[in-house]
């Protein structure tokens, strides 16, 4: 075989992209997926891509899922790379989840509470049997509808706080940071930690949260409350001077209530971990709340020994866009470095033979 300098990388890339487009479309005798179909019928995938892509836009997230052939990390990456080009024209006021139009609200710590337990559209109590009727096209029966309740839904943290049994959130210490505009430095404040977790990889957070339940940084958690519903977002344009409503987001919020033994300065009381996710993402919100609480070990005077309690470890590795990029970059050529390693190993072997 004669050596031919590798040329035509350019043509190879073009051909590969064309093949990819063809593979994405698949069998053309099958109808092409429409964006509204993905947005409506693969809603949980859209929610996850919006959360990890850090951009609330159902249509663009659905487009990203289609373009990425359903690879959700790739889809989140497409969305992030789009998001990063958008100008930032305002900062929203904190979302008021107390005012949420709740579709689902459950508490694990009270049998019943003001506002009640609202199951909502959950898979929790379904039997995981394949529903073969979905092989064909189906029209689901109309779900029963209750009149909207006027009853307030106070948050469980508030109920516990009446007795002083749970820590208070504490006063805000100024504008929250933004890790998309300032690089993360350690130690990182809780604002930045929560931001990183909110867009972190669901699988990574789930594994870390799970590890705290198995004794790697145990926090004895209870689901104080989880609620899913729509919340309005407000901004105050400086030229107007008053707040205007710019739209609604579907959010999932989870407050974990955790044991705290007390310290020299604090009486024993419950502490909390907080999780918030774009869309309907209960697993993500719960895992986030577990990891948030675990990372507070230092500030609460607990011994920090487990991976989930190490903020630098968690925050440096929870972003799946960073992680997938770096893991997959090993596919790039490394032959120059490998050549230097070859020479080094040969040299060591020669030394060893002496």
């Amino acid at each position: 075989m004669a050596y031919v300098a590798v040329k035509g990388g350019e043509r190879a890339i073009g051909n590969a992209h064309a093949w990819l487009a063809e593979a994405r479309r698949g069998d053309t005798s099958v109808a092409e997926l429409g964006i509204p179909q993905i947005a409506a019928q693969l809603g949980r995938a859209v929610d996850r891509v919006m959360a990890e892509g850090s951009l609330y836009d159902r249509e663009l997230a659905a487009l990203a899922i289609k373009q990425a052939q359903g690879d959700l990390i790739e889809a989140a990456f497409l969305l992030r790379a789009y998001r990063t080009t958008l100008p930032r024209f305002a900062h929203a006021a904190p979302a008021d989840t107390d005012a949420m139009l709740v579709r689902r609200r459950i508490s694990g710590v009270y049998k019943d509470l003001p506002g009640g337990q609202v199951l909502g559209p959950t898979t929790d109590y379904t039997h995981r049997l394949l529903d073969f009727s979905l092989l064909g096209e189906t029209v689901p029966p109309q779900a029963a509808e209750a009149p909207a309740s006027e009853e307030k839904m106070p948050r469980v943290a508030g109920i516990l706080a009446h007795e002083g049994l749970i820590e208070t959130d504490g006063a805000s210490d100024g504008d929250p940071g933004d890790l998309t505009r300032e690089p993360l430095a350690f130690p990182a404040g809780r604002d930045l930690r929560l931001q990183a977790l909110a867009r972190g990889d669901e699988g990574f957070l789930l594994g870390l949260g799970y590890s705290t339940q198995r004794g790697w940084g145990g926090t004895h958690p209870f689901v104080g409350e989880m609620r899913v519903g729509d919340t309005f977002i407000e901004i105050t344009p400086p030229e107007l001077g008053f707040a205007i409503d710019i739209g609604d987001l579907t959010l999932t919020e989870c407050v974990m209530v955790n044991q705290f033994k007390g310290s020299k300065t604090e009486k024993p009381q419950f502490t909390s971990g907080y999780g918030l996710a774009f869309g309907h993402g209960e697993r993500r919100a719960m895992a986030m709340a577990l990891v948030d609480r675990a990372m507070r070990a230092g500030e609460l005077g607990e011994e920090a020994t487990a991976p989930a309690q190490n903020a630098e470890f968690v925050l440096s590795h929870c972003d799946n866009i960073e992680a997938t990029g770096f893991v997959e970059h090993l596919k790039l050529p490394h032959y120059v470095d490998f050549q230097s390693e070859l020479e080094s190993v040969r040299r060591m072997r020669t030394e060893a033979e002496k």
Binding site: T324, Y335, S340, S344
Partner: protein, 280 residues
Amino acid sequence: MSSGYNFAYLDEQTKRMLRRAILKAVAIPGHQVPFASREMPLPYGWGTGGIQVTAAIIGPDDVLKVIDQGADDTTNAVSIRHFFARTAGVATTTRTGDATIIQTRHRVPETKLRAGQIVVFQVPQPEPLSRLEPSRAETRRMHALSEYGLMHVKLYEDITRYGHVAISYDYPVMVNFRYLMAPSPIPAFDNPRLHMMPALQLFGAGREKRIYAVPPWTDVRSLDFDDHPFRPARAPHSCGLCGATDSYLDEVVVDDCGGRLFVCSDTDHCETRRGNGMRP
């Protein structure tokens, strides 16, 4: 040029942020400056740091060269060159001498760079101490105190164990007698080229969110000991295409009976030599 995006993809606010980081980096040679790295349309680990640095410094009159492993025609180099041709509409070249900006992964060109040129390195891991101390909070402190004993111990241990320092690429350097710096995964063979280079050297690490720099004519020394001086290595052969005996060589497997061909890793260098009639 594709419409719908700003010149060179990034918005001007982001470029300003990058330029401030670059200026600070140039003012403190070898010091890692944190910056708010953006998501780029290419994945982390594929040159996002270098691309952001290039996007921040490139102008319409610049001529860009992009190499990976020393070659202009490796797929990732092609892809990045396309990216800038598409988003900035700039002229591109494969000739080292013709370029005003050279973005590189894993190599320093064989041709001596001149004053006025800028070489942009893609950096996967900007922290030279990362394999010895994983916490960036701790390594930051070590840099602040010039506390580099840990690295000297690692080199010493290599020498006692193997008879020489067993780092063959990304070999740590001391910049301007002050900061320990990762030169990016260039082979140690390329390290001496960083010393007193007339061109500006910029290093971008996108995923790790760090920019650092070596200004022109700066002292860059590979770490070593008086009795074990730094010794860059290359394959002990000459190029099978142009006959060069002093260039860094790639080893190409030509058959399944141990046949090897050694060729210049710097494709422009090799082609230029062959154009001038050089043969093995």
